[in-house]
């Protein structure tokens, strides 16, 4: 075994890239769930975002327009979920699952003409001074814009939920929609906006996959990333910074285990393959081990339909 072959700087740089799709999808889903809605369609929205972003970037030659189209496309898709669950009061779990199945099929159809094409490359940012720093420069400041957007989103969601009136209203709707309604807040409207935000984020995550991380379009290319994002929201007990930790942990160990295999670590491959799942869950569960506080962090109205006549 030759562990010296693994360069920790490069490893951290690739873990950030590897974790970004999951992080984007997870932070969006966190907002959705904070508003009391459980949308299991993350996987479907991600893959639709992946193809919308890819197709737009290929057609226009601009990755930025690709990302915008991905966010718009997935937000539009999530609107289907919003209408079904918020106006027609369909079961959220079933609708979410259906959204995933629909998204997988729909994206495959949209993507027919885009197989085997190459997207325009997304430039990495060169930040004056910071990018030129030794060590941290290559590690943290040599990424493309979306990596920083995802980090900024985490910070923004955290600050909004914690310090602003909008955040308070969103949480109120998620904790007790009847009380929020009695106070005069438009529960349905707020939830729909939250669902669309979640859709847009999932779309960005998917587009990051098809435009930066791989970069190509293949049917079903999200391969379960949406489900990981959902799990990270739960295990991160609905806290933005823990979601960031969970996503980076999962992304990091996924990359690390491949590096360890390449370096010839004498551990059966099966253990390495399951390690990202095991370690991420373990760490987040231990962090949320205080049961009384953990119970508080789940939005009380999560997954419950709201109807004003109640």
């Amino acid at each position: 075994m030759d562990l010296s072959a693994i360069n920790p700087l490069v490893l951290i740089a690739s873990l950030m890239v590897s974790a970004t799709p999951i992080l984007l999808a997870a932070i969006g889903e966190l907002v959705v769930e904070k508003s009391g809605v459980l949308n299991l369609g993350v996987e479907g929205m991600m893959i639709v975002g992946a193809i919308c972003g890819f197709a737009t970037a290929v057609e226009t030659g601009s990755p930025l327009l690709g990302f915008i189209a991905a966010a718009a496309g997935s937000a539009l898709l999530s609107l289907i979920f919003a209408v079904l669950t918020q106006f027609l009061l369909a079961n959220q779990v079933a609708t979410g699952l259906a959204l995933t199945l629909f998204g997988l099929g729909f994206s495959a159809m949209l993507g027919q003409g885009y197989v085997g094409l190459k997207p325009p490359s997304t430039p990495t940012l060169h930040i004056p001074v910071l990018s030129d720093l030794p060590v941290v420069g290559t590690m943290l400041f040599s990424h493309d814009l979306m990596v920083y957007v995802s980090l900024a989103l985490v910070a923004a969601v955290w600050a909004t939920l914690k310090y602003t009136r909008v955040g308070l209203i969103l949480r109120a709707v998620g904790e007790n929609h009847d009380a929020a309604h009695a106070l005069g807040y438009k529960v349905i409207r707020i939830r729909i906006l939250a669902i669309m935000f979640g859709g847009a984020c999932a779309g960005l995550g998917g587009a990051y996959l098809s435009l930066v991380r791989v970069p190509q379009w293949t049917e079903g290319m999200t391969a379960g990333a949406g489900w990981i994002a959902l799990a990270i929201v739960v295990f991160g007990s609905w806290k933005p910074w823990r979601v960031l930790l969970g996503a980076y942990l999962f992304g990091g160990i996924s990359v690390l285990q491949l590096n360890l295999q390449a370096a010839g670590l004498k551990v059966p491959v099966q253990y390495l393959s399951m390690s990202p799942y095991l370690i991420t869950i373990l760490v987040l569960v231990i962090m949320s081990a205080n049961r009384s506080r953990a119970a508080l962090s789940a939005p009380a109205s999560l997954g419950r339909s709201f109807h004003a006549s109640h």
Partner: protein
């Protein structure tokens, strides 16, 4: 629905199907199931090209249908049953993991012919077919050994089945032969098609100094990464030059068309028999994409010579002296491995570092 009405309904459908078959006796129905999307530009894409070639060759006498993205396991059994029920005469199951599902379903439909790719279990109505991909791996191993500057070759492996292990061994033996300093770094990704994971694996390998990548997974993700990072790679199953015009040295291209045409024709003629087909370079089942322009002529010549000797039968890739990984003798000097051993290959040859997942 009451059981009686259900039974009556089934009988009626069966009767209809039978009469339908009588009317359409001159059209043979063939079905294909694929483990991934035909748009993977790799293994599944190539099978589907074969299907199209077969349709073109046989024209209106055949009607073919496909089902993509069929997971290996219980789902495969369901899809196969469905295809058998819908009147297909011959069904091609194109992935190793469909093996038991094919045998189970074949038992229930003795009149339907089944063809299972890369498997080894047969029955009266189940034939198996595969290509000697390892012959192609011997050739790309030779090229890789010549082209690597860091002497580190990366190998993205999917599952520890004989076909994959044959590939690793054949590539290693022939890379080592032309470059004794060569070292293989093998990464198991436990998937046939997960672009993100394949790309991550390619990145991990490149970060550790690998400058030539081989893959035994189905998508072009690794090729895309190789192109971006400026290292060489080999296409798998299909010509992947579109994903890596500079990176692709060559590709092992699977040619299924002639085989599919023969087999469907045999069903039409009533001459179909269960058998095992295992064709390689000589049979035209394993072919190569055009060589990279940056490949030195000497290397291209060496590769072409190897292709020629394998084609003529003068050389077999698994020829002794070869030792197993633990140092015990596998093949004595000049001894050639028999097909049975190759088909069930479950060990590395000497020099490869690491264990095969069990």
């Amino acid at each position: 629905m009451k059981r009686r009405t259900f039974l009556a309904g089934t009988a009626a459908t069966a009767g209809l199907a039978a009469s339908g078959a009588a009317f359409a006796a001159d059209v043979t129905k063939a079905a294909y199931i694929y483990v991934g999307p035909v748009g993977d530009m790799g293994y599944n894409y190539q099978h589907d090209l074969g299907r199209k070639e077969m349709e073109k060759a046989l024209g209106a006498k055949v009607k073919a249908s496909i089902v993509e993205n069929v997971p290996e396991g219980a789902d495969a059994e369901r899809v196969l049953t469905q295809l058998a029920l819908s009147g297909n005469n011959i069904i091609f199951a194109t992935s190793f993991g469909y093996m038991d599902a094919v045998l189970n379903v074949a038992k229930k439909f003795p009149k339907v012919k089944f063809e299972h790719a890369t498997g080894y279990k047969r029955a009266d109505n189940v034939a198996t077919y595969s290509a000697r991909f390892y012959e192609g791996r011997a050739v790309i191993g030779t090229i890789a050994g010549r082209m690597t500057k860091t002497n580190k070759i990366g190998y993205i492996a999917s599952f520890p089945i004989p076909e994959v292990i044959q590939g690793i061994n054949a590539a290693y033996i022939h890379a080592k032969k032309v470059n004794p300093k060569v070292e293989f770094k093998i990464v198991w990704v436990s998937t046939w098609a997960d672009p993100a994971k394949e790309a991550d694996a390619a990145n991990a390998l490149i970060e550790q100094g690998v400058d030539v990548i081989m893959q035994h997974t189905d998508t072009t993700a690794a090729m895309t990464v190789a192109e971006k990072k400026g290292v060489f790679a080999f296409g798998q199953s299909s010509n992947m030059a579109a994903a890596g015009p500079k990176a692709q040295l060559t590709a092992i291209v699977d040619e299924w068309g002639p085989y599919y045409t023969d087999r469907v024709k045999a069903v039409m003629d009533g001459t179909w028999k269960s058998m095992d087909t295992w064709g390689g370079i000589a049979a035209g089942m394993v072919t190569f994409a055009p060589f990279n322009k940056d490949m030195p002529e000497a290397v291209a010549k060496e590769a072409n010579d190897l292709i020629a000797t394998i084609k003529s039968g003068a050389y077999k890739p698994f020829t002794g002296p070869l030792n197993k990984q633990d140092g015990s003798v596998w093949l004595k000097d000049g001894e050639v491995a028999d097909d049975g051993v190759i088909a069930g290959l479950n060990f590395y040859v000497q020099g490869i570092v690491g264990d095969i997942p069990k």
